[in-house]
């Protein structure tokens, strides 16, 4: 290691020493502490979801927290939190209630999707009096998307979507040169097949992309409303296409002679593997959005 590197490490270690940390803690003003509290609550929710909720809920939470931050305008210089007399106690009560519920949460639970919104409201009430909360409304609206998504996911019947996904899977595999038969939501290849049902219908991927679309439209709105509307249509369609690719891969794994094919099937069927396809869908959507936006900006530049 170079002398410079050693010196940098010594300086870092000195900065991390207890007296230095305490000194910095004392120099934090209310604004820093409010930001720290918000960040720690965000980390608490990530930890809670990681420990108790399904993986797709964790991804939704990451998207919503990121989105809430994205649509929050930067505070003016010298801004300090200044809660109202009653709002302060309501805010504290909300945060305490969220912590209490979080500590009792053991497994998958719908109420977990309300917690970021309630904590967001608590934090906002600690930041400003009731009459001056307008600035925070877009962030709260993004946080409210989490329970809305969960309710839509829970209430939407997956039957028709399963059949549509099976049809798309059949088309994808046929395009790839395979001989495919489909009966309802069952896709058959020579040597095996898959039954598209439940989570395999891809409702969660579809909703995740819709969530990304809402956040993008709020944070970086297009010039015309119809363009925003079009992105709301493109997002779920892209989700269906990506999910059909996942189901095609599962069907090919089932009929393959791949060693450990059961493991590969489980990987892409159950948890992290399906997240790969969610990520792919989001990547494609963001690319499409940015591409279209760049074209609009370029068109404006040439006028």
């Amino acid at each position: 290691m170079s002398k410079l590197g050693v010196n940098a490490m010594k300086i870092s270690l000195r900065a991390m020493a207890w007296p230095s940390l305490l000194a910095r803690w004392h120099s934090l003003d209310n604004r820093d502490l409010w930001g720290l509290l918000a960040a720690i609550f965000a980390l608490y929710f990530l930890l809670l979801n990681l420990l108790t909720q399904p993986f797709d809920e964790l991804l939704n939470l990451v998207l919503v927290l990121g989105g809430a931050l994205l649509v929050l305008p930067g505070p003016p210089d010298g801004w300090q939190p200044r809660p109202g007399r009653i709002g302060r106690w309501v805010g504290i009560a909300l945060l305490m209630a969220v912590l209490g519920r979080g500590q009792r949460l053991m497994g998958s639970d719908f109420s977990s999707s309300f917690m970021p919104l309630l904590a967001g409201m608590g934090l906002v009430l600690l930041a400003a009096p009731l009459g001056k909360l307008r600035t925070f409304l877009p962030s709260l609206a993004v946080l409210a998307l989490l329970p809305v998504m969960r309710a839509v996911d829970w209430l939407t019947p997956t039957g028709p979507l399963s059949v549509a996904t099976a049809w798309l899977t059949q088309q994808t595999l046929t395009l790839g040169g395979y001989t495919v038969m489909r009966v309802g939501n069952i896709v058959k290849l020579p040597g095996g097949g898959v039954n598209v049902a439940g989570a395999c219908a891809g409702l969660s991927i579809l909703l995740q992309l819709l969530l990304v679309a809402v956040i993008f439209v709020m944070a970086f709105p297009m010039r015309h409303r119809w363009q925003n509307g079009l992105m709301f249509l493109v997002a779920p369609l892209l989700g269906m296409v990506v999910n059909a690719m996942r189901i095609s891969l599962l069907a090919l794994i089932v009929t393959s002679s791949l060693p450990h094919k059961h493991w590969w099937f489980e990987f892409f069927h159950e948890h992290w593997g399906s997240m790969v396809f969610s990520g792919l869908g989001m990547q494609l959507f963001v690319w499409l959005y940015v591409y279209w936006m760049a074209r609009q900006v370029a068109a404006l530049g040439t006028r």
Partner: protein, 253 residues
């Protein structure tokens, strides 16, 4: 955000307690809650115990020693009941183990994971077999999935154990996606009271099943000989007889 705010030195003392103290207190409390969550997390105990006595036509059943319940991080185990089933037909005796299991997340609810926390249910060598359920209701044929394999002390290649996990709804399976019971009806839009309670957060989803293991001794030949085939057939027959008896036979709630 409003810029007409007091300076940092004013410290927001409206409402009695200084804001700084409140923010520091909440920060410390949240960190403590996070640490407590990581350290103290555990799966709920199973809501029902396995039956302590069984009676089945054609068998003489005696109860052996139970094992104590155990709380775990991902899976919690109820009391493991242990029985000896002696067929009146003169066939060899079979050992039956019943273990109620409750999972925190549902994704951990599978026979491999159960074998990981309950060594007497571990199968070093296994294959999944499907057995059609007789008298199943509904339009589609219904099948139980189960592991068949050997115990750690049995000769390689032999089949001495049959395992599956039975949910309260009568589904017998070994994989988590069959057991976690999170699925909603595919074509229905409507709420049952339990769904509504879950939707507003008053009821948490419960993931649990009754792990069942039937075990015969290894046949004299050890490997897959005629004796081994007979044992496999016997295990499947006993399972078919036991299935109806075990559904909804849990004790307590």
């Amino acid at each position: 955000m409003s810029s007409s705010q007091p300076g940092p030195t004013q410290n927001g003392k409206r409402g009695g307690l200084p804001l700084r103290r409140l923010l520091v207190g909440l920060t410390v409390l949240t960190v403590a809650a996070a640490v407590e969550k990581v350290v103290g997390l555990s799966a709920p105990m199973p809501s029902a115990e396995a039956p302590s006595s069984l009676s089945l036509d054609g068998y003489r059943i005696s109860a052996l020693q139970d094992s104590a319940p155990r709380r775990g991080r991902d899976l919690s185990l109820g009391t493991m009941r242990h029985f000896r089933l002696v067929p009146l037909s003169g066939e060899p005796a079979i050992a039956l183990r019943l273990l109620p299991v409750s999972s925190r997340m549902g994704r951990d609810l599978n026979m491999d994971a159960i074998g990981g926390v309950a060594p007497s249910l571990a199968l070093p060598e296994k294959r999944i077999v499907y057995l059609e359920v007789a008298n199943a209701t509904g339009p589609a044929p219904k099948a139980d999935s189960m592991n068949m394999g050997r115990g750690p002390g049995d000769p390689a290649g032999s089949t001495t154990r049959l395992q599956t996990c039975l949910t309260p709804t009568g589904q017998a399976a070994v994989e988590s996606y069959m057991l976690e019971g999170e699925g909603k009806a595919p074509g229905k839009l409507g709420l049952r009271p339990a769904d509504l309670l879950r939707l507003i957060g008053l009821q948490q989803a419960r993931h649990g099943c009754l792990a069942v293991q039937l075990e015969s001794g290894a046949s004299a030949g050890g490997q897959a000989g005629v004796g081994s085939v007979d044992r496999q057939r016997q295990l499947k027959t006993v399972w078919k007889n036991l299935r109806g008896l075990l559904i909804g036979s849990g004790e307590g709630t």
